[in-house]
Amino acid sequence: MAKLTPFFFLSFLIISSSLAFQSDEFGLEGAQQQTPTTRKRYSDPDSDSKVQFSLEHAFGDSDFSPAGTFSARLKSWSHGGKTLTKLRFSRNGFSDEEKDTFKNLLKGDDFYRIRLPSNVISPPGKEFVVASVRARCLPRDGLDEHFVIHMEGANILALSYGSLGACQYPRQFKLPAKWSFNSHTILKSSEQAPRTPIFTEEVLGGENAEGEVEPPPERSFWAKYWMYLIPVGLVVMNAVTQATNMAEEQTGGQAGGSQVQQSARRR
């Protein structure tokens, strides 16, 4: 294979055969992993049905009562999975009685609790997914609420509920200007973890072993021998100063000086 590639790809002059080979492999792996799921997702005619499930709320420790309905389309994939799409939410406004109880909640900084069935297809008999928030976090102009529904197939795993922005602590008592809900809803499903990168250095090294082993970058002379040069330099300078000191009286010092100069030139 490595021999054949230069014949077929003459135009690619200097590309190393090993590199080309390797990139091929990568492509294949990626394709194996992704194509089946993506193709199915687009080719399958969706067999969907409508589902409705109700949101229930409770004030403090009161019982739960209906507060709105979610309607969505349930898509069934051929591989068995089911997902919710096109989620719509219609919120019931507070009745006067509920307004009063909510005001009491605000005064007491108590909890406003909501719940959803944990399974949207067959709600009865299953556990409910409960979430709650301090009532004082909700009022802005109106009543701001933000739902994040964590889904796993057709199951609701968890519900994050709260106001859209921050909820300052200590929480101030404040009545909403308008008694209408301002709802935002997000459906979230699980993220896939990225695959652990596999490096093929070993493979590369094996292919390169034929001849193209990259030599380590040449270091400069100074970088290699600085630890020897510095002491030598010091000694030399020491000797030079001594030589100049002794120059008047002793002749032997001059010989030493010239030696030093020679060594310096060599460097």
Partner: protein
């Protein structure tokens, strides 16, 4: 070795330096040797020339100008030279091996003994072979109790029986009778291993023939899993097997009469019919079979009283049935227990191996029943109270003896009697016994012939706290604290502060000793020490009195580890040498022995540290059921005394330490019970008022693992409506996370350590950007797998299994992070610290273990990068954080392959959290690997830029490296490793690491080296002497140069 060749030369080096120093400071002639001063001597002396060339250039210049500086320079030069020599000497001396044991200790245990077999026939080493509840088979020295050899079998490989075959092999039967192994008796090497076929769960039985003739090879008979196997003791080959699975037959006794080739196998069919098979021991063929139905049905243990009779209880446990089965027909003979003893109740057969005698426990009394020739039963003796009994032991002249041990006050009485004649007492001894060992659980006896040819007995007893003791001649010969092999929870405690009056002199004996020690050390570091000195130095280092003192030290190296064991005993271990400072067996007024659940720091006095003792809270329960009532016990840490113990009258599901303390610095704790109520402790009005203040802000959660639900709760009100208890509160459910049961199953949950210290919230990245860590105490890490994938690794295909990890805010129930790993499987081992989680799992696609790191960063604070904003105070860094605000955070994660299977993971913790962290990974080989957190950094890239490299980011690799030198257990193994506990020392760089399993291991770690202190073996004496010498040198040379100057001026 390198060192031995070089030693002479190296010794010369410091000597030479010393000599030079001595010459220059004393002799006049040495002064002119200074390079700048005079020329005449410059070349004359060989040695002194050496000085000249080495002298730094800058110094020679300055010397010319000022004379005092001259002297200084010279002294400095000498000092530098000396240092150069010294440092080179130290480097060449490899220090690694003798550092072992300086900071660490390792203790080997075996666990609670189940069976013991003595091997004392030979004149050589006397030993006892034991098997334990920790699945250890070990050979112990009978003289000192040391371990000759030991093997820790796997956690699922429980040992059912142990015996000695052929006088040289130890045979063990394990895994419900499906694994037979033979170990060589002297050294513990495995000789053979046979895996037997097993079809069903059943009790297992090991029968090793007792024959002293080695040439005749009788097979070992093993019953287990519905099969009877005959295994050759020589090579473990299965000679034959008999299938009993189809018949629902359960073997009770296997009898091999001596000098006979027929084996009698007695068993019960559906507990109502006794069947005896006679099997040819050579071929395994059934020679004869007889059966007889017993309408009442059997129950419980079978006691074989002689070669042809067994005794068993009927299903009502009120009638003893004697079965004789060797004769032509099986015959039953019933005896009502009420005929034997007056106040009868449910009976239980004890100690099933007494010949012609049987011990029955009725109404907390032990009665001895003799079995007559015709199967007639008669009561011969009874013992009150709880008495532990041994199996019978043949002594001389065909007599059989047994031992019984019972308590009386603080003493235990050991009695050895003959079975045939209960009035003949062979031995009666009373031994003083520590109260904290509890009652005697098991007794094993062994006899030896004394010099006067009479029988002597030694008894191996297992106490209630699992400790093992050998009694001989009325004394405890040795004892082993085997309770420490089953540590369930560990916490740390400080030692007492050193009080006035405890001076250095008392600690170090005398100043002379102190000096002597340091001189010895100096000698060692100067390589002048003789071999004896070296030994003395090593000993001194190991036993330095500072190490094992019972007071607090400046660095916080001395601490106590408080360990709670499965037996309900509390031990305090000293970090210095690992000795047991005190131990306490838990008691409770409600039940005899509560089982310990967990351990908390109850009171840690800081303000009154001098006069108040810290204490720990031990939470236990009476009974094994989670709804059984709980017991609280408060134990003083300094003394080990139980301050108080109380029945709390409700069950204990969860114990939550609160971040509040009262004025006496007792920590407030909430205990949740099975009814969904929480109870506040301590029950004081002060604690109540503190709690009421924070009542609205207390939340808790619980994990229902079986249903896959995590629930969050808030406080509702006092439960005064239901009970009068004002410390009891009702709660309400605030949130639930429901994992769909068909696709997810919780396998692991984890939170941060509540007492962890985070040094900085911000992390500065390479491009001068600031990332804020999302540091929240209310985060819960949950890992789930597909129900199919909850089994063993490899039991599912990658498509069937997925692993999902969650980070859940425990106040609001928000899922902050959710990541699914397709084709991955548990078990998940995770560690959670600061703002990151590292978890370990198996990747089925790659067939490798993987480690993933998740780091969470706060984005709501990301705006605070501008310096001006900070200066002008326009930042939100000091604003209180509410969990009800929508979290703005992002996560970074990365996965790496990890080449090893993992048992547990922990992380180092230091006092201020400044020191970089290391992961402590307990590997499958029972060792602990320290891995820098930098290796599991999600910001690692393939080609880090220069700036990133400077920051310490390591280039990305696909797998984490295992550097052999980074095993902190070095050559040791912490057998059966179960947990690793870290605790900070006072010194920021250092952390205590305590690992427990069957063994215990402790060491001190410095993840970034000890940057804030000198090492232990730093020689202060050397430093002192050098300084003194330096000062002297300065003074003398200064005086001399003055003199010289004067004389020059006179010239």
């Amino acid at each position: 070795m390198f060192f031995s060749f070089e030693e002479k030369k190296l010794r010369k080096v410091p000597r030479f330096a010393n000599a030079c120093g001595a010459i220059t400071t004393t002799k006049k002639g040495a002064i002119p040797a200074l390079p700048s001063d005079k020329k005449t001597l410059a070349c004359s002396s060989h040695d002194l020339l050496f000085f000249q060339t080495k002298a730094p250039f800058s110094l020679t210049r300055s010397v010319k100008k000022t004379k005092p500086a001259n002297a200084m320079a010279m002294a400095l030069r000498l000092y530098l030279l000396l240092l150069v020599f010294l440092s080179s000497a130290i480097v060449s001396f490899s220090l690694y091996e003798d550092q072992v044991g300086l900071m660490d200790w390792h203790q080997r245990y075996i666990g609670k003994v189940k069976h013991a077999v003595f091997h004392t026939q030979k004149t050589g080493r006397k030993r006892v072979i034991v098997s334990t509840e920790e699945n250890v088979v070990a050979s112990l020295d009978l003289r000192h109790g040391e371990i000759f050899w030991r093997h820790v079998l796997g956690t699922k490989d429980a040992i059912d029986g142990v015996d000695i075959a052929l006088g040289k092999y130890v045979i063990t039967l394990s895994s419900e009778g499906s694994m037979v192994r033979a170990w060589n008796l002297p050294d513990g090497q495995m000789v053979w291993e046979t895996s037997l076929h097993s079809a069903q769960h059943s009790k297992s039985l090991l029968s090793v023939p007792v024959n002293l003739k080695v040439d005749k090879d009788y097979p070992i008979l093993v019953f287990g899993g519905g099969y009877l196997h005959a295994v050759s003791p020589i090579d473990g080959e299965v000679l034959w097997k008999k299938d009993f699975t189809a018949e629902g037959f359960e073997v009770q006794r296997v009898l091999q009469p001596l000098e006979s080739s027929i084996i009698y196998v007695l068993g019960f069919l559906h507990s109502s019919e006794a069947i005896v098979y006679q099997i040819d021991s050579k071929s395994g063929e059934v020679v004869a079979e007889k059966s007889k139905a017993f309408p009442g049905g059997f129950s419980g243990e079978v006691a074989s009283v002689s070669n042809d009779k067994v005794v068993v209880l009927d299903s009502t446990r009120s009638i003893l049935v004697t079965i004789s089965f060797v004769d032509e027909e099986i015959s039953f003979q019933k005896t009502l227990i009420s005929d034997l003893v007056e106040d009868s109740g449910e009976a239980e057969i004890l100690s099933p191996l007494l010949s012609n005698m049987l011990a029955v426990k009725v109404n907390k009394r032990t009665i001895f029943v003799r079995v007559g020739d015709q199967g007639k039963l008669e009561m011969v003796d009874s013992l009150s109270d709880e008495t532990a009994m041994s199996d019978s032991l043949p002594v001389a002249d065909d007599q059989v003896a047994f031992a019984s041990v019972h308590h009386e006050g603080s003493k235990i009485h050991l009695t050895v009697k003959l079975v045939d004649d209960l009035d003949t007492v062979l031995l009666r001894e009373s031994i003083q016994m520590d109260q904290h060992r509890g009652r005697v659980d098991k007794v094993f006896i062994n006899n030896y012939i004394k010099t006067d040819r009479s029988n002597g007995f030694r008894a191996l007893i297992v106490m209630e706290d699992h400790s093992l003791l050998l009694l001989q001649q009325g004394a405890i010969v040795w004892s082993r604290e085997e309770g420490l092999a089953s540590v369930t929870d560990v916490t740390t405690a400080e030692l007492p502060v050193e009080k006035d009056g405890v001076s250095v002199a008392k600690v170090e004996h005398t100043l002379v000793d102190w000096l002597k020690g340091h001189i010895l050390k100096l000698k060692g570091s100067l390589l002048l020490a003789s071999p004896e000195d070296v030994v003395a130095i090593q000993e001194m280092r190991m036993k330095s009195s500072g190490r094992s003192k019972l007071t607090r030290d400046h660095n916080g190296f001395r601490k106590l580890f408080i360990a709670l064991t499965r037996a309900g005993k509390l031990y305090a271990l000293h970090t210095g040498d690992g000795r047991i400072v005190w131990s306490t067996l838990l008691k409770s007024p409600a039940c005899a022995r509560p089982s310990g659940i967990s351990l908390y720091q109850w009171q840690v006095p800081h303000h009154h540290a001098m006069d108040e003792n810290p204490s720990v809270l031990v939470v236990g329960r009476c009974g094994s059921d989670s709804s059984s009532p709980g017991v609280l016990s408060f134990v003083d840490v300094y003394t080990g005394k139980e301050i108080s113990s109380s029945d709390i009258g409700h069950s204990v599901v969860q114990v939550m330490p609160l971040p509040f303390t009262d004025s006496t610095e007792q920590r407030l704790h909430l205990i949740a019970d099975t009814d969904g109520h929480v109870h506040l402790y301590p029950k004081t009005s002060e604690a109540l008022s503190i709690f009421q203040r924070e009542f609205q802000n207390v939340y808790w959660y619980n994990v229902e693992g079986d249903d896959g639900i995590v629930r969050g709760h808030g406080m509702k009100s006092s439960c005064s409506g239901e009970t009068a208890d004002e410390y009891c509160f009702t709660t309400r459910e605030l949130w639930t996370v429901v994992f769909p049961s068909e696709s997810e199953k919780i396998i692991s949950t984890l939170t941060r350590k509540p007492n962890e210290v985070v040094h900085t919230q911000a992390k500065v990245s390479t491009d001068q950007d600031v990332l804020y860590k999302y540091v929240s105490r209310n985060l819960l890490f949950v890992a789930t797998v597909s129900p199919k994938g909850a089994g063993e690794i490899g039991s599912v295909t990658p498509e069937e299994s997925a692993l999902v990890v969650y980070l859940i805010d425990t106040v609001t129930g928000r899922i902050l992070h959710r990541l699914s790993h397709q084709g991955c499987q548990g078990p998940v081992h995770a560690v959670f610290s600061e703002n990151w989680v590292v978890y370990h799992y198996f990747n089925l696609r790659a067939h490798k273990y993987e480690v993933t790191v998740v780091e969470i960063y706060d984005q709501s604070r990301a705006e605070n990068k501008n310096v001006w904003k900070l200066v002008l105070g326009k930042h939100n860094l000091t604003a209180p954080i509410s969990s009800y605000s929508r979290p703005e955070m992002f996560t970074k994660s990365q996965s790496y392959f990890f080449p090893q299977s993992v048992k547990t993971i922990a992380v180092t913790s230091t006092a201020k959290g400044i020191t970089s962290k290391q992961l402590l990974i307990g590997t499958i080989g029972d060792q602990i690997l320290a891995l820098d957190k930098r290796f599991v950094d999600p910001r690692r890239t393939l080609n880090p830029s220069q700036a990133e490299k400077e920051e310490g980011i390591i280039p990305l690799t696909d797998s984490l490296p295992i550097i052999p030198q980074s095993y902190i257990t070095h050559s040791l193994k912490v057998e059966g490793l179960r947990g690793i506990v870290t605790a900070p020392a006072k010194l920021e760089s250092t952390t205590h690491v305590f690992a427990y399993g069957v063994d215990l291991f402790y060491t001190r770690l410095a993840p970034s080296k000890t940057y804030d202190s000198l090492t232990d073996d730093f020689s202060y004496a050397l430093l002192l002497i050098t300084i003194v010498a330096l000062v002297a040198a300065i003074y003398i040379t200064w005086a001399l140069s003055e003199k010289k100057e004067l004389s020059e001026k006179w010239r």
